[in-house]
């Protein structure tokens, strides 16, 4: 009775086989999960039965459930049971289940070893076969070790069916148990010549996989494969062999040559086969033979017919092959540019992606805009974020590659970036943002345009923040806010932008963006204040302060600490300002001083270029640090000191050398460099620290006109114009918005030319090195492109991209300076009522003697305290002044001299007038309408102990001769009881060196220059020079604006350029105390004078 019940239940359960299960699941669409869980319960019951047939059936069902995503590892033991059944039917079910769900961490696997061994030696070939198949899926290191011998025996089994499986599985065994490779290899090699094609193909397969991992070890098999290639008719084998040779040829170049003939034969043979097969082979060929030009010629035939055949498959493969060829033979692919561009229009995403990859390597200055325009069209059309994101990154990659070398018009690039921000749901907001920042900082000329664009972005910020989907893109606002704040002087309507930045909606942005908003709102506030204080109506300024005070509390409440901190800081500041405003105090100048200073790009490795002064051990502490924490305390101190030098010159003396040295050099050397520039006069001992070097050899990539190298400048300009026209067309098509900005953009061509001299300086100084650096960088980038399929950006970055964080070291700038432009322009009639006697000779009365130092700071560069002393001495009865003259901005014929006036007496100085007696050659630039003898009013007054700076522009005709200009400064000295008119005479000494601009040059360019033969020669000898050679070089660099091109032992070549484009080349040699300088220049007079000056520099020391 009991037996009957059992038997009946077995029968009932047994009836539900795999088909029933599937049917059942299909019938329970509504409650599938529930049905399956009851099935699993049933299966569990079945597995408890002793009957192997029932178990096998259950395992079979489990295998199906596993495919549907159910975990069946709990049945692992039952699976092993089924595997060990003596019946093939069940065994197969067991092995299938095991291959589907066993893996290395399945612990029952170790129970299987003996079972598998038994199966491998089974007389039934299918038992063995099934065991091998199963084992191939779940082989573990242990199994591999234990069974390697058995499998090796099987490799020479009588049945080819077993042989081929055994050969194939050996690869898996090698992977898990590498020690088996050596003993098994001879037999594997033997199988390459097996009479059965299946076994042969398996052996080839295994060796190809092995060779992919380590091709070198398989070179010795090349002859064997050679034979196979010519004899085999199995396409599979041929493809594998060709792939194998692809891995081998790079290691053995001779192979390439040998292969040409059989390969060509193959191609001829295949040409009769249907076209697909031909391409098939050709593709494998091209991917196989990356390294031999002859084979490339063969393989390039592949892509050519392919592209005209319009077979999609083949198109894809053609592109794939091209990308492989591009790595080695970019030229041969570039000729297919049009085809590749066509592929961008393909409706197939795979093909477009391939084509995109190729584009990166194909852009040039000529076609960049065209290509990007095409890509932009695709961005608009693209569906699916993946492809769109891919497009976006590609556009940016293509444009920014090799340091923007292909971009000729940055306005265009900025507008592309702005357009990209309109993309829905892109993940790459931060990428766009960093590009915007990068371009705005490094390309000075673009700032006006960039700021206008960014202001619009800020104004329309709601478009980006509104949608949660667009989260990624709001990163752009980070850049926008920063650019608008930092370059706020270019804003057309700063008040409006300020308002936009303080909208309550901003509080929904991520914290780090809010923080930038707050900080830059403060910068903007300063700018707005300044513009409003100019007006007589002070209410406007007060309203702005009120706006700040109203809006900032929102940020003070922010949950983000950074935002909170900045906001409360600024809020207090604004409140204070408001108080002052109510008392009618003009505060704009001071507020603006908070954010003063120019931001200059410095290459990340620039610091390394600053040579360590002799005898300075960077790692040694000058004052032993008492503890770890103390050393950190030094850091803020140094920063503080830096701030001070920036704002007040009177404090210089406080920054003594010791304090500077406390800062760990290695970390803060940059700051120190800045500091030195500040204390330069006070610390003559460090005078010749070659600060200059920063600029010497570091390519600062701030091109306004990228890549426009001087030799092809004219042509370049012509092209530029064409392009601007083209661009205009583009813009009209693409951009209907932004009409307000149109007029600026349309002035493209003029913006290139009549842009401020500062911009020109950029170009002049950057032109030469940039060109040459880029050419070498291109090489580098291409090289890395070859090695890694996706070009390795980081490598290039680390070499070229600037760090943004350095505040510039126009360290001496004082708050009032900003007013200088207008001030210099305003002119007052000159009053000559000098009372005091003057001595124009160089007799020096110690107390009163004043030295005027002139620093020529070429435009954008951090610091360049170059050159020449304008010696003049005064003796004043009542007041003394220190005048520093700084030359700034230079262009073809203009020199800007910055004069720092310092009031050293106890009286108040006002109504200062600066006048210079013009010579034929040099003239002080005066506003239109004023006579040639009128003086210029200095736009400020000097309370006792205060210093300030004014700038004056001179026009210089010829720069080949040095000259001195006489000048006078008249002013009123006001005491408590009386006021007197006084006058100071001085001389401005324009040396020839001051007309030189440090221009880095590269040795190949330098050599070319010397070979050109249009340079005149001259030389000079200096006797008794005792200083070390590198000091000597540093001095020449420092005082005469040269840069070292190359230095070999005691010999160095140096280069510089005059503001009018004369090349000056020096070859400096030293032996003992004698230094000889051989020089070449295209202007002999200039050269003579420069050499005289160099001689003088060294005679003085």
């Amino acid at each position: 009775m009991a037996l009957k019940i059992v038997k009946g239940s077995i029968d009932r359960m047994f009836d539900k086989n795999l088909q029933d299960l599937v049917r059942g699941i299909r019938n329970h669409k509504e409650d599938e999960a529930k049905y399956i869980s009851t099935c699993i319960d049933e299966i569990k019951q079945e597995l408890k039965q002793d009957n192997i047939a029932v178990k096998a059936n259950a395992v079979c069902k489990l295998t199906y459930l596993q495919m549907l995503g159910y975990d069946v590892s709990w049945a692992a033991f039952n699976i092993v049971e089924v595997m060990s059944s003596s019946k093939f039917t069940y065994k197969r079910i067991g092995y299938l289940a095991a291959s589907q769900c066993f893996h290395e961490s399945t612990d029952v696997i170790m129970l299987t070893t003996n079972q598998i061994r038994k199966d491998l030696s089974s007389p039934n070939q299918y038992d063995t076969g099934v065991a091998l198949t199963g084992l191939s899926c779940f082989v573990t290191p242990d199994l591999a070790r234990d069974l390697a011998n058995d499998i090796m025996t099987l490799m020479s089994h009588t049945k080819p069916y077993i042989r081929k499986k055994a050969v194939l599985i050996m690869y898996k065994v090698f992977l898990k148990y590498p020690e088996s490779l050596r003993p098994a290899f001879p037999r594997l090699k033997e199988k390459l010549e097996d009479p059965d094609p299946g076994v042969q193909s398996a052996a080839v397969n295994v060796i190809c996989e092995l060779a992919r991992r380590n091709p070198k070890n398989y070179l010795s098999l090349a002859p064997l494969f050679f034979k196979l290639m010519t004899s085999s008719t199995n396409n599979w084998v041929l493809i594998k062999i060709i792939k194998l040779f692809g891995a081998l040829t790079p290691l053995e170049p001779r192979l390439g040559k040998k292969l040409i003939e059989p390969l060509t034969n193959l191609i001829h043979r295949w040409e009769e086969i249907p076209s697909l097969k031909v391409c098939h082979m050709l593709i494998s060929l091209s991917s196989g033979m990356p390294n031999h030009s002859a084979s490339i010629q063969v393989s390039l035939r592949g892509p050519l017919p392919i592209n005209s055949m319009f077979v999609v498959l083949v198109k894809y493969l053609g592109l794939l092959a091209m990308s492989k060829i591009l790595k080695t033979h970019p030229k041969s692919v570039q000729s297919h540019k049009d085809l590749i561009l066509q592929c961008l229009d393909d409706k197939d995403e795979s093909i477009r992606l391939r084509a995109l990859d190729l584009l990166y390597g194909m852009v040039s200055k000529k076609n960049l805009m065209e290509i990007v325009k095409k890509l932009m069209l695709h961005v608009d059309k693209a569906e699916g974020t993946t492809y769109r994101d891919e497009l976006l990154t590609k556009i940016i990659d293509i444009c920014s590659q090799s340091n923007y070398q292909y971009i000729t018009n940055f306005e265009w690039y900025i507008s592309i970036l702005v357009e990209l921000t309109r993309l829905e749901g892109t993940r790459h907001g931060h990428l766009i943002a960093s590009q915007m920042l990068d371009v705005a900082i490094r390309v000075k000329a673009i700032r006006v345009f960039a700021v206008a664009q960014m202001a619009t972005l800020l104004d329309n910020a709601h478009l980006m923040t509104g949608n949660v989907q667009r989260k990624g893109i709001c990163e752009v606002l980070y850049a926008a806010a920063w650019i608008c704040g930092e370059f706020s002087e270019h804003l057309e309507n700063p008040t409006q932008t300020l308002e936009a930045m303080l909208r309550p909606k901003v509080a929904t942005l991520p914290g780090h963006i809010q923080a930038v908003y707050v900080q830059n709102a403060a910068k903007l506030f300063a700018t707005v204040l300044k513009s409003q204080e100019g007006n007589t109506d002070s209410t406007a300024a007060q309203e702005t302060s009120q706006l700040m005070i109203e809006r900032l509390p929102l940020f003070v409440q922010s949950a983000n600490l950074e935002v909170q901190e900045r906001a409360s800081c600024i809020l207090q500041l604004v409140k204070y300002i408001q108080k002052l405003q109510q008392k009618d105090v003009e505060v704009a100048e001071e507020v603006i001083a908070l954010f003063d200073g120019e931001l200059n790009p410095v290459a990340p490795k620039a610091q390394k270029k600053v040579p360590v002064p002799e005898g300075l051990d960077l790692d040694a502490w000058i004052n032993e640090p008492p503890s770890e924490s103390e050393s950190e305390d030094d850091q803020p101190k140094a920063i503080f000191a830096k701030e001070e030098t920036k704002h007040s010159r009177t404090r210089h003396t406080e920054v003594d050398e010791k304090e500077l040295a406390k800062v760990s050099w290695a970390e803060h050397a940059t700051q120190i460099v800045y500091l030195y520039s500040g204390v330069y006069q006070e610390a003559p001992g460090v005078e010749h620290i070659p600060v200059v070097q920063i600029d010497l050899s570091v390519p600062l990539k701030v091109p306004g006109l990228p890549m426009s190298d001087q030799y092809v400048k004219l042509e370049e300009e012509r092209r530029q114009k064409e392009r601007v026209e083209k661009k205009k067309k583009d813009k009209k098509k693409r951009k209907e918005k932004g009409g307000g900005r149109r007029k600026k953009r349309d002035s493209g061509p003029e913006s290139e030319e009549d842009i401020t001299p500062a911009h020109m300086v950029d170009i002049v100084t950057e032109e030469m090195p940039e060109d040459f650096i880029i050419s070498s960088q291109v090489l580098k980038v291409q090289m890395s492109y070859l090695c890694v399929f996706r070009p390795s950006r980081p490598l290039a970055d680390s070499e070229k991209l600037p760090v943004r964080s350095h505040r510039a070291a126009e360290a001496l700038k004082s708050p009032a300076e900003d007013g200088e432009a207008e001030a210099a322009a305003s002119l007052e009639p000159k009053k000559k009522s000098s009372k005091e006697k003057r001595e124009k000779k160089k007799d020096k009365e110690k107390d009163r003697k004043v030295r005027m130092n002139s620093y020529f700071l070429p435009g954008n560069h951090t610091l360049f305290p170059l050159a020449n002393d304008l010696e003049a001495s005064f003796s004043l009865s009542s007041s003394s002044k220190e005048n520093d003259i700084q030359g700034n901005l230079q262009d073809g014929s203009q020199v800007v001299v910055s004069v720092i006036f310092e009031n050293k007496c106890d009286s108040f100085l006002k109504s200062m007038e600066f006048n210079v007696l013009d010579s034929l050659n040099s003239k002080l630039q005066r506003p239109e309408g004023s006579g040639p003898h009128d003086g210029l009013t200095v736009p400020f007054q000097l309370p006792p102990g205060v210093s300030n700076e004014a700038r004056f522009v001179f026009t210089v005709q010829s720069i080949v001769m040095p000259q001195k200009l006489k000048g006078t400064l008249t002013f009123i000295v006001k005491n408590e009881d009386s006021s007197t008119h006084e006058k100071l005479d001085f001389k401005l000494h324009f040396t020839c060196s001051s007309y030189l601009i440090t221009t880095p040059c590269y040795s190949d360019a330098f050599a070319k220059l010397l070979e050109s033969g249009d340079l005149k020669c001259s030389s000079v000898r200096l006797e008794g020079v005792s200083q070390p050679f590198h000091h000597l070089l540093a001095r020449i660099c420092f005082h005469h604006h040269f840069s070292v091109v190359e230095r070999v032992d005691s010999c160095a070549s140096m280069y510089s350029r005059s503001i009018q484009g004369h090349h000056v080349c020096l070859l400096v040699k030293t032996s003992g105390q004698t230094v000889s300088i051989d020089a070449k220049c295209d202007e002999p007079t200039l050269l003579g004078n420069v050499l005289d000056e160099i001689k003088q520099t060294f005679s003085q020391c």
Binding site: K7, L18, Q19, R23, R26, A53, T63, Y64, Q66, M67, L68, G69, D71, F88, T89, R92, I93, L96, Q100, H103, E104, N124, Y126, V130, L132, T133, S136, C137, V139, K164, K165, L168, I169, Y171, G198, S201, A202, N205, V206, C208, E209, R212, N235, W236, K243, H280, I283, S284, L313, Y316, L317, L320, K347, D348, E349, S350, I351, L353, G384, F789
Partner: protein, 162 residues
């Protein structure tokens, strides 16, 4: 190397999944879903290759697929395999199925997934192509089926005995 072979229908229901690398069940399902998503949105007349999804592979891997009536056959392979070769292999696979099931349709695959596995095992072993000759594959599959049948007969007779 072949990393995975997937067969699913037009609605993404898996009909066969064979992974030659271990993933847990959830990941496997995700991979199937993702692959279906990638493949199903493509037009009929575009090329049969696409770059692998996030889960499976990476830049070195490619999905090679073919669409037959209601079924997608997808192979995920690395760069050591020839794309067209695999495409050929899919064709061989389908033709073999057609021979074995006599006019194969989706239902055959639904109800006999174990048989499909057995056929596949004769073509691809542990991610490597074992045999591309259809006749050879069919011969082996047939003789194994014959063996199974004889065993089942014995088994059934024993069962009747009981």
């Amino acid at each position: 190397m072949i990393k995975a072979i997937l067969i699913f229908n037009n609605h993404g229901k898996p009909r066969l999944s064979k992974f030659y690398e271990h993933y847990n069940e959830d990941t496997e399902q995700q991979i199937i879903r993702e692959t279906f998503h990638l493949v199903s949105k493509r037009d009929e007349n575009v090329c049969n290759f696409l770059e692998g999804g996030m889960l499976i592979g990476g830049s070195d891997y490619r999905l090679i697929y073919r669409h037959y009536a209601t079924l997608y056959f997808v192979f995920c392979v690395d760069s050591s395999e020839s794309e067209l070769g695999i495409l050929d292999l899919i064709q061989v696979f389908v033709e073999t199925l057609d021979k074995c099931f006599e006019n194969v349709c989706e239902l055959d695959l639904i109800f006999h997934v174990d048989k499909v596995h057995n056929i596949l095992a004769e073509m691809v072993m542990g991610g490597m192509v074992l045999e591309t000759n259809m006749n050879e594959i069919i011969t082996q599959v047939d003789s194994q089926n014959k063996m199974e049948k004889s065993e089942t007969f014995i088994f059934q007779s024993t069962r009747q005995d009981r």
